[in-house]
């Protein structure tokens, strides 16, 4: 593993440009696979790039009642936060984030920012559909944030105690421990947490069955309803990059193993992203319908919350 200078890590690799491009590629892959599952031909793999170039050339309209500055800076804030958050994720055998960037707790805050920009965008767009999108997004965040916190706590306590401390919030340490002792995906006490994580990420990414805030036939894209042109393009970028952060966090927490050779390790890391996108995103969204907001809320309170809590208690009990 090599230490990279902080600006390079945040702007070029693995945060910033690399994250944006990877996000768009995964999105193209997802659309292609979903089309194939429905026995359609599907768009070309580079379709998200075409979409972005197109949106950059369109008019950007701002509703009369909307606060112009806030309305137009929100997508920028959301996208740059998501791109920065990728720099906090270590890649096994290739990259360890500089300590100055922060640990898991900072990442948790950065993960919340895109959701908040979406909420603000919904309410700033001065549209009733945006307001509905805002309240639904808020309900979803309340539903999935709890399980996520407990999943992260379970892993942090597990690795922390195995290393002889009480808890560690350093992702670098968590990945290094797994390189030495095997991946946490093979640890029965953490299986419930893994299941909870698998339920969390479609909700965070706003995908079927949890795409309730942006449900197109119901609330006409909700928070994004009034956005057009470059601003909408930035929101597309944000959602693509958010997928890189959330899937990358899953890889780092549960299965970061990679060979020592950096080139092979990077290829394997990208393959993990592709597999996760294909199985966890495309297949799920093709196979399921959309839940109602109350169903989704209850689902998270009944399922993932208890699973994550069970995992945390198992970890605490077994080692305490």
């Amino acid at each position: 593993m090599t230490e990279m200078p902080l600006p390079f890590a945040a702007v070029l690799f693995p945060g910033g440009v690399f994250a944006l491009v990877l996000g768009l590629c995964l999105k193209g892959l997802d659309r292609r696979i979903a089309a194939r599952l429905q026995r359609r031909v599907g768009p070309p793999l580079a379709q998200p790039f075409f979409d972005l170039i197109k949106l950059a050339r369109k008019d950007s309209l701002v509703p009369k009642a909307a606060p112009r500055l806030l309305f137009l800076t929100l997508p920028l804030a959301g996208t740059s936060t998501a791109a920065l958050a990728v720099a906090l994720l270590p890649i096994g055998g290739v990259y360890a984030p500089p300590a100055a960037l922060g640990d898991l707790l900072v990442l948790l805050y950065l993960l919340a920012v895109p959701a908040i920009t979406l909420m603000l965008a919904g309410s700033a767009s001065a549209s009733p559909f945006g307001a509905i999108g805002f309240s639904r997004e808020m309900a979803m965040v309340l539903a999935y944030e709890g399980p996520l916190l407990m999943v992260i706590a379970a892993v942090a306590v597990f690795v922390g105690r195995a290393e002889g401390q009480t808890v560690t919030f350093s992702l670098t340490e968590i990945v290094a421990w797994q390189q030495a002792h095997g991946p946490l995906i093979g640890e029965p006490a953490l299986w419930p947490a893994l299941l909870a994580y698998l339920a969390f990420y479609p909700a965070n990414l706003g995908m079927v069955p949890f795409d309730i805030p942006e449900a197109e036939p119901e609330v006409l894209d909700g928070p994004l309803l009034e956005y057009s042109g470059p601003a909408l393009g930035l929101f597309e970028l944000m959602s693509a990059t958010k997928a890189v952060v959330v899937l990358g966090l899953g890889i780092a927490l549960f299965c970061p193993l990679a060979p020592a050779d950096p080139a092979t390790a990077l290829v394997i890391h990208l393959l993990k992203y592709a597999v996760l996108t294909a199985l966890g995103v495309s297949v799920v969204r093709t196979a399921m319908g959309r839940m109602r907001i109350d169903q989704a809320f209850r689902f998270f309170l009944k399922g993932p919350l208890w699973l994550a809590l069970a995992s945390l208690l198992l970890v605490l009990g077994r080692m305490g």
Binding site: A35, Q38, Q47, F50, R57, L61
Partner: protein, 142 residues
């Protein structure tokens, strides 16, 4: 610049306006997207929920008096450059509703129509050909 215009032309997003249609054409429009055999997504198309996201506007129905103002307002919400396609015989001439007291159409009295796809309802192949023609026109305007 021309390269970017060319690439941008591969991402036309579609928006449907139902201007008092009997829903027959709308079902056919859904068919072009939802049935594997007629996949418009391979042309880079995507049906979007908001007029602000759209590039190509597909109008169905004879533009009834009740819906006229709202339909024209929706059309005006679509950011430039845009292309308008009249789907079905109704927006083109009024179809079976021609000369009815309840009709404000045909559509090209009020907005410039770029492509006509006649039929009652038009077949999915015809709609896809109309969309393909609209994409050509739209790519020149970019």
């Amino acid at each position: 610049m021309t390269l970017f215009a060319h690439l941008a032309g591969r991402s036309p997003w579609l928006y449907r306006i139902n201007a008092g249609s009997c829903n027959g054409c709308d079902v056919e429009l859904a068919t072009t997207a939802c049935i594997p055999r007629y996949d418009v997504e391979r042309l880079g198309c995507r049906y979007c929920g908001s007029p602000r996201h759209a590039d190509i506007v597909l109008v169905t129905g004879p533009l009834t008096i009740r819906v006229k103002d709202k339909a024209l307002h929706l059309w005006a919400e679509v950011p430039d450059p845009k292309v308008t396609v009249a789907v079905g015989v109704c927006p083109i001439s009024g179809g079976v509703f021609r000369e009815s007291y309840a009709i404000a159409g045909p559509l090209d009295r009020f907005i410039p129509v770029d492509v006509n796809v006649p039929g009652c309802p038009p077949r999915p192949q015809a709609i896809i050909e109309g969309i393909a023609k609209a994409i050509e026109i739209w790519a020149q305007r970019l």
